[in-house]
Symmetry: C2
Subunit: 221 residues, 2 copies
DNA sequence: TCAAATCCTGACCAAATGGTCAAGTTTTAA
DNA sequence: TTAAAACTTGACCATTTGGTCAGGATTTGA
């Protein structure tokens, strides 16, 4: 029995060269799509970024739309994998703190992924609507139910749990999507530094924990 | 003396027709740029949206880049005008509440303006960097100084005032830029309703006021 | 070793795109 | 009334774009 028959059709045809090139192209594509959106990105620009002739991009992905789809699927998978760990029996403070930290790490390490996703949302999410209406909606329902449970158990102050989650995303992702704005306003000519991400993480965490009554308020002077 | 000589060169040549057409074109352009970014937008699409032949767009604006510039300038002016009213002697609670409300009204009423701006920021803000580094930076410095003053006077709890402002923007603008996401997750098939914006406004206000110690924490159950 | 499979890519194409222009129509102001 | 100014737009153009393809190079597996 051929070992390869255990792999999906996709993986079967992936030799070393194929895998390397696909990775290279997708990385380049993520960058170009992030900076220009789907319509604004050109296959020529992606090819140059990847250091390959344009025809090579089409050899592996066929069309620009399919390449974009592949990049988007990759990002959705990344998103979902980062969404796992909030459980009912965890400690509210630690859970929220860890979650904010995890989202901020993504913003810092995969800003282009966040930007591609943002571009897609601004455009009205034509290609990921079903993901939003299913997986993401379910995730929100599940996690906000856990927050509500914590609230009902008196483990944290009453909050609008759905909006709390939305606003955590908004605050964490702004540091990836709109980095240019914050760098300019903060006077960081070479882009944001790790310290900036730490300061932002602390500010968001403080905000969320105070809102949830999980952090003692400092006494006013 | 000609009455028109009191006007800027720009305004001098603006008869009724000119003004109407420019308005129409810019409105259409804002929509198309919002949905596609600068590179992805086509003059043909803008022309169709405006209900005018393409050559007419070029008659008034010359090039796509100049039209984009005009749209962007319009939005920056709108942003700046909404940024005015935070004064040192105002009441912290009222001021923050009003400011959040004003930003949310902009998100609700001018989502395309917000989206064009967001597109520009995602792309690295090549055309508005000087605005970010000057007017906006100054505004942040000025307003965060006022917050710090309030804190020093014991009128609100200590917070990272700069990040607080950044995060208010992030939370309020997400309701314009990523409306598609929130509508999908909330199951609003025809887009967000006014009630959704009100709920978001309340959630953000609660969050900010609790963070600043300006709203009594509800007792835990 | 060697043939099949995979990979590579310059040259090419049709369609789309930003922009121009000339010839006309409408508006304005004296 | 009338001539200048402003406006309109179909037809057109050079460039860019996504995509194709044939023929050759390299890798793979038995």
């Amino acid at each position: 029995m051929n070992i390869k028959s255990d792999l999906t059709p996709d993986e079967q045809s992936q030799g070393r060269i194929r895998q390397e090139n696909i990775e290279r192209i997708m990385k380049a594509a993520e960058k170009v799509f992030a900076a220009n959106g789907f319509r604004g990105a050109t296959t020529a620009a992606i090819a140059e970024e990847a250091g390959l002739p344009k025809a090579n991009i089409h050899y592996y992905f066929g069309t620009k739309a399919k390449l974009y789809r592949a990049v988007l699927d990759d990002i959705v998978a990344l998103w979902l994998s980062s969404f796992r760990d909030i459980g009912e029996h965890d400690d509210p403070e630690k859970t929220l703190t860890d979650y904010i930290r995890a989202k901020m790490d993504l913003s810092q390490n995969r800003p282009n992924a966040s930007k591609v996703f943002a571009n897609e949302l601004i455009r009205g999410a034509p290609r990921i609507n079903s993901y939003l209406r299913t997986e993401l909606k379910d995730w929100v329902a599940e996690k906000s139910a856990i927050l509500d449970h914590w609230i009902a158990d008196g483990r944290m102050a009453p909050v609008d749990s759905e909006r709390l989650l939305f606003h955590i995303w908004a605050m964490t992702q702004t540091w990836a999507d709109f980095e240019a704005q914050w760098a300019a306003v903060l006077g960081r000519k070479d882009g944001l530094k790790p310290a900036d991400f730490n300061a932002a993480t602390d500010a968001i965490t403080t905000m969320v924990l105070r809102t949830c009554g999980l952090m003692p308020m400092p006494s006013r002077r």
